[in-house]
C-alpha cells in the first residue's frame, strides 16, 4: 500500500514518466525518427541531419535577434517604456482571464487507459496527482514566456546582449509565478466536476457566468487594477528595486494557488477524472495514426463533445435528395463551432478579396492553392465523414452528382454569410471585378465535395492531381476577373456562369471517379 507521501510521489512519477516517454516517441515520430523501427543507423542519420540543420540555422537566428536588439536599443527609453507599458500588461491581463477560463474545456488530468487501470485501484492521495500536474502546467507557462522575453529583453533596458539573460529569467519566473494563482482559480472551478460529490450543472454554469461577467466588468471599467499585475511583472523583469515586495507577493500568491489546488484535489474522484480524460486516452491510443488520419482525430473530439451534450432539435423535414441538406443542417446546428469556422473562413475570404491583386501571379497561385488545400476540405467535412459510414450511405440511392450539388449548398451559404458583410461594409475598397470572385465560394464547396468521392462511393484520399485541378478551377475565375471591365454586375454574372461551367466539369469527373469511364458515358443509374 502506497500511503506514504514518498510512495504517492513515486506513483505519480511512474505515471508521468510513461506519459513523457510516449510524448517523446510522439515527437520523435513527428520528426521522422521512428523510435520503434530498431534501425539505429536510420535514427542517427536523422539526428545528424537535424543537428546540421540547427547548426546552420543558429547563426541566422542569432543575427536576426542581434538586429532586433540593436533596433530596440536605438529606440528612446521613454518610447520603449511607453510601448511596453501599454502592450505587455494588457496581454498579461487577457492571458490571466484565459487561464481562468480555459481549464473548463480542457482535459486537465491527462490519463491514458493504462493510467486509469493503474490509478483507479491505487490508494494514493489524489492531491499529489493534481498538484503535480498543476506545477507542470505552471512550469510550461514559464517556458512559453521564454520567447517573448527573449525578443523583448533589450527593451527592458539591457544595453549589452550579455545583460539580457537576467532579464529573461526574471521575466519568465515572474510570469509563471503570477499565472500560477490565475491558473489555480481556473482549476479550482473546473475540479468541481471531478469531485466525489460533484456540483450540479446549474451551479457550475452559474459560477462560470459569474466569472465571465466579472471579467467583462473589469475590462469595461478599464481598471488599472487589471493592468497592475503586468506592470509588476515588467518592473521585476527590468530589475526595478522599487518593487522589492514583488517577489514576495508573487511567491505568496503562487503558494496560495498551489494550496487551493491541493485542497480541492482532496475530493477528486478518479472515476470522474478518468471519464473526462477518456478523449485524451483515445487520442493517445491512436499513436502514430493521428499524423496519418487527422480526420479520425477530429471525429473523436467531435464525437466526445457531441456525446457530452444533449441533442438539440431534430432532423428538418425534407424528402428525397434534400434529406442530404437536412442532414448537413442538423450537423451544423449541433456542432455550431464548425459552422462558426466556416463563417470565419468567409470573413477571411472577404478580407482577402479586398486585398486581392490579380496582377501578381505568384500570390494568386499561392492563394488558390491555400484555398483548395485548406478551405475546400473544411467545407466538405460532413460529406466526407458521411461517405466513410457505408452502412448509412447504402440507404442513400441518389446519383452522386446530385448528392454533391445538394451537399455543397449549406457550407457555401455559411461561407457567404462571412463574405458578404465584409464586401458590403467595405464596398468602396472592393477591387475591380472583385465580385466575380465571390462564385469561387461555390466552386470551392463543389470541389471539396467532388474531391471526397472515391471509387465505389468510399471517400477518396486527397491527391496532388485534385489539388492542381481545384487550383486551376479557381485560376479560371481569376482569369475571368482580369478580362471583364469595371462593371461589378458583369463581373458577378460572368463569374457565376463560369462557376456553373466548372461545377458541370467537376460533376462529370466525379461520376468517372466513382463509377469509371463507362458509367459516366451512360445515363445516370437511377434512370436506367
Amino acid at each position: 500500500m502506497q500511503t506514504t507521501f514518498r510512495g504517492m510521489l513515486g506513483s505519480v512519477r511512474f505515471v508521468r514518466a510513461r506519459q513523457i516517454r510516449w510524448t517523446m516517441a510522439y515527437w520523435a515520430r513527428a520528426f521522422g525518427l521512428l523510435p520503434n523501427s530498431g534501425k539505429w543507423m536510420e535514427r542517427i542519420t536523422f539526428v545528424y541531419i537535424y543537428v546540421i540543420s540547427i547548426a546552420l540555422l543558429t547563426p541566422t537566428l542569432l543575427s536576426l535577434l542581434n538586429g532586433l536588439y540593436v533596433t530596440e536599443t536605438k529606440v528612446a527609453p521613454a518610447a520603449r517604456f511607453q510601448a511596453l507599458n501599454t502592450t505587455l500588461p494588457t496581454i498579461i491581463a487577457v492571458a490571466s482571464v484565459l487561464l481562468i477560463g480555459l481549464p473548463w474545456r480542457a482535459w486537465m488530468l491527462r490519463l491514458t487507459f493504462g493510467d486509469m487501470v493503474y490509478l483507479a485501484p491505487s490508494p494514493f492521495d489524489r492531491r499529489v496527482l493534481v498538484l503535480w500536474r498543476f506545477i507542470e502546467v505552471c512550469i510550461f507557462i514559464g517556458v512559453i514566456g521564454f520567447i517573448p522575453f527573449t525578443l523583448l529583453a533589450p527593451a527592458f533596458g539591457s544595453i549589452e546582449a550579455a545583460h539580457v539573460l537576467p532579464v529573461i529569467f526574471r521575466g519568465i519566473t515572474a510570469l509563471a509565478l503570477w499565472f500560477a494563482p490565475m491558473l489555480a482559480v481556473g482549476w479550482v472551478i473546473s475540479l468541481q466536476e471531478y469531485q466525489h460529490d460533484g456540483q450540479s450543472g446549474v451551479i457550475r454554469w452559474l459560477t462560470r457566468v459569474a466569472f465571465a461577467g466579472a471579467a467583462v466588468a473589469l475590462f469595461a471599467l478599464g481598471s488599472e487594477l487589471l493592468l497592475w499585475p503586468g506592470r509588476m511583472v515588467m518592473a521585476i523583469a527590468s530589475g526595478d528595486s522599487t518593487v522589492w515586495y514583488g517577489w514576495f507577493l508573487l511567491i505568496g500568491w503562487a503558494a496560495l494557488g498551489g494550496f487551493a489546488v491541493w485542497r480541492v484535489g482532496r475530493g477528486l474522484s478518479l472515476t470522474r477524472a478518468a471519464e473526462r480524460a477518456e478523449t485524451f486516452a483515445r487520442i493517445q491510443q491512436l499513436g502514430f495514426m493521428i499524423f496519418v488520419d487527422r480526420q479520425l482525430l477530429g471525429s473523436i473530439i467531435a464525437e466526445t463533445r457531441a456525446n457530452q451534450s444533449r441533442a438539440v432539435g431534430t432532423l428538418p423535414r425534407a424528402t428525397g435528395i434534400w434529406t442530404i441538406a437536412a442532414r448537413a443542417f442538423i450537423f451544423y446546428r449541433r456542432q455550431y463551432g464548425q459552422a462558426v469556422q466556416l463563417v470565419a473562413v468567409g470573413l477571411a475570404f472577404g478580407a482577402g478579396l479586398l486585398l486581392f491583386n490579380p496582377a501578381d501571379p505568384i500570390l494568386t497561385i499561392f492563394y488558390a492553392v491555400i484555398l483548395v488545400v485548406v478551405v475546400a476540405p473544411m467545407m466538405a467535412r460532413v460529406f466526407r465523414h458521411d461517405l466513410d459510414v457505408p452502412f448509412i450511405t447504402q440507404f442513400n440511392l441518389h446519383p452522386v452528382t446530385s448528392q454533391i450539388v445538394v451537399a455543397a449548398i449549406l457550407p457555401a451559404l455559411l461561407v457567404l454569410i462571412g463574405v458578404l458583410p465584409v464586401l458590403i461594409a467595405f464596398w468602396p475598397l472592393v477591387p475591380r471585378g472583385g465580385l466575380g470572385l465571390v462564385p469561387a465560394v461555390w466552386v470551392l464547396s463543389v470541389f471539396g465535395h467532388f474531391e471526397a468521392i472515391g471509387k465505389g462511393g468510399r471517400p477518396a484520399a486527397r491527391s496532388i492531381f485534385t489539388v492542381i485541378m481545384g487550383a486551376a478551377a479557381l485560376l479560371v475565375l481569376v482569369w475571368n476577373v482580369s478580362q471583364v471591365g469595371r462593371d461589378p454586375l458583369l463581373a458577378a454574372l460572368s463569374g457565376a456562369a463560369i462557376a456553373g461551367l466548372l461545377t458541370f466539369v467537376l460533376l462529370f469527373v466525379a461520376e468517372i471517379r466513382r463509377n469509371g469511364l463507362n458509367a459516366a458515358q451512360m445515363a445516370t443509374p437511377a434512370t436506367k
Binding site: 457531441a306 432532423l315 434529406t323 450537423f331 460532413v382 452502412f391 465505389g456
Partner: protein, 284 residues
C-alpha cells in the same frame, strides 16, 4: 412508455412473444423468385485471393445461414454481394438488376448490416430512422420507426447518439434501419454475436415476420447457429474462400454420414477433412 398507434406495423409481431415454429426447410423451391444471384465471385486483398469464384442463389422468403471457420471469407462475401466492396471478377444480381451496371436499382432492394454498424455524427437514433426513411421517400416514417425501435427496446434511448450505445444496441438500431425500408434481401453479418438472449429472440421474430409478411430473403453469417436452429432453410458452407456446399441440414448430415443432431462444428470437421484430402496443396 405510452404506446402510440402504429401504422405500417406488422400486427402479428405485436402480440407474438415467442418465435413461431418454422416450416420444414424447402430447397430448392422453383415457385420462389430468385432475389439474389451470384456467379463466380472472386476477391483478392493484394496477392491473397480470399474468394475463389463463389456461386450463390437466394430465393424470396428464404433464410440461409452462411457458415465457415474464421477467415473463411464470409464477411468479404457479404460485402461483395452488397456492393460494399468491388469484386475482382464475377456477377451479382439483385432482383434481376446487375449490381455493377444497375447499382442503385440493385442496392435499393438490399441492405447489409455489418457486425458493428457505424452511424453518422451528430445524429440521434431517431434522426437516423427519419433520414433513412426519407432517403427512400417513405410515407408515414414515424409510426414504423417507432414500432421498430420499441420492438427492439431502443425507444427510450432514441434521442441519444448511437456512439453512446453498446455494440448490441448499435446492431439493433442497424436492424431497425434495415427493416424500416422493407428491402427484398437483408444480409446480416454476425447478427447474434452482440445480442443478449432476449434481443436475439426478438431478432429471430422480426426476421420471421419479414420473411412471412414481406416475402423477404435473409442471408446471415453466424457462429451462433446450429443445424437445428429454427427457421434456417439452408446452410452455405465457405472454406478458405471456396464454396463447399449449400444444403439443408438433413442433406449435410447425409453428405458426411453424421449422426442425427450433429452440430455445425461436426460439419466443419468433416468438410475440412474432405477439403484437405481433395486439395492437399491449397489446404494449408
Amino acid at each position: 412508455m405510452s404506446k402510440k398507434p402504429r401504422q405500417n406495423a406488422p400486427t402479428a409481431l405485436i402480440n407474438s412473444t415467442e418465435p413461431t415454429v418454422s416450416n420444414p426447410p424447402q430447397f430448392p423451391d422453383s415457385n420462389r423468385d430468385t432475389v439474389l444471384y451470384a456467379r463466380g465471385v472472386r476477391k483478392s486483398y493484394g496477392a491473397v485471393e480470399v474468394l475463389h469464384g463463389v456461386d450463390f442463389r437466394l430465393q424470396a422468403g428464404e433464410r440461409v445461414a452462411l457458415i465457415g471457420p474464421n477467415g473463411a471469407g464470409k464477411s468479404t462475401l457479404l460485402q461483395c454481394l452488397s456492393g460494399w466492396q468491388t469484386m475482382d471478377e464475377g456477377e451479382v444480381q439483385v432482383c434481376g438488376s446487375d449490381l455493377t451496371r444497375e447499382e442503385q436499382k440493385a442496392r435499393a432492394a438490399m441492405v447489409l448490416i455489418p457486425d458493428t454498424p457505424n452511424f453518422y455524427q451528430s445524429m440521434t437514433a431517431w434522426d437516423h430512422m427519419l433520414l433513412v426513411g426519407r432517403f427512400h421517400d417513405l410515407v408515414d416514417v414515424e409510426p414504423a420507426a417507432e414500432y421498430l425501435l420499441d420492438a427492439l427496446g431502443l425507444w427510450s434511448v432514441r434521442k441519444s447518439y448511437p456512439s453512446t450505445y453498446s455494440r448490441g444496441m448499435k446492431y439493433k438500431l442497424g436492424l431497425a434501419l434495415g427493416l424500416l425500408i422493407n428491402p427484398k434481401v437483408i444480409l446480416l453479418d454476425e447478427p447474434t454475436a452482440a445480442l443478449d438472449p432476449l434481443s436475439a429472440q426478438v431478432l429471430w421474430r422480426l426476421l420471421q415476420e419479414f420473411q412471412e409478411e414481406d416475402n423477404g430473403a435473409v442471408l446471415l453469417s453466424s457462429h451462433q447457429v446450429e443445424l437445428d436452429t429454427e427457421g434456417i432453410d439452408r446452410f452455405f458452407l465457405l472454406l478458405n474462400g471456396n464454396k463447399i456446399g449449400d444444403d439443408t441440414p438433413a442433406a449435410w448430415i447425409a453428405r458426411y454420414g453424421l449422426s442425427t443432431g450433429a452440430s455445425v462444428a461436426g460439419v466443419f470437421r468433416a468438410a475440412i477433412a474432405e477439403f484437405t484430402r481433395l486439395n492437399p496443396d491449397i489446404a494449408h
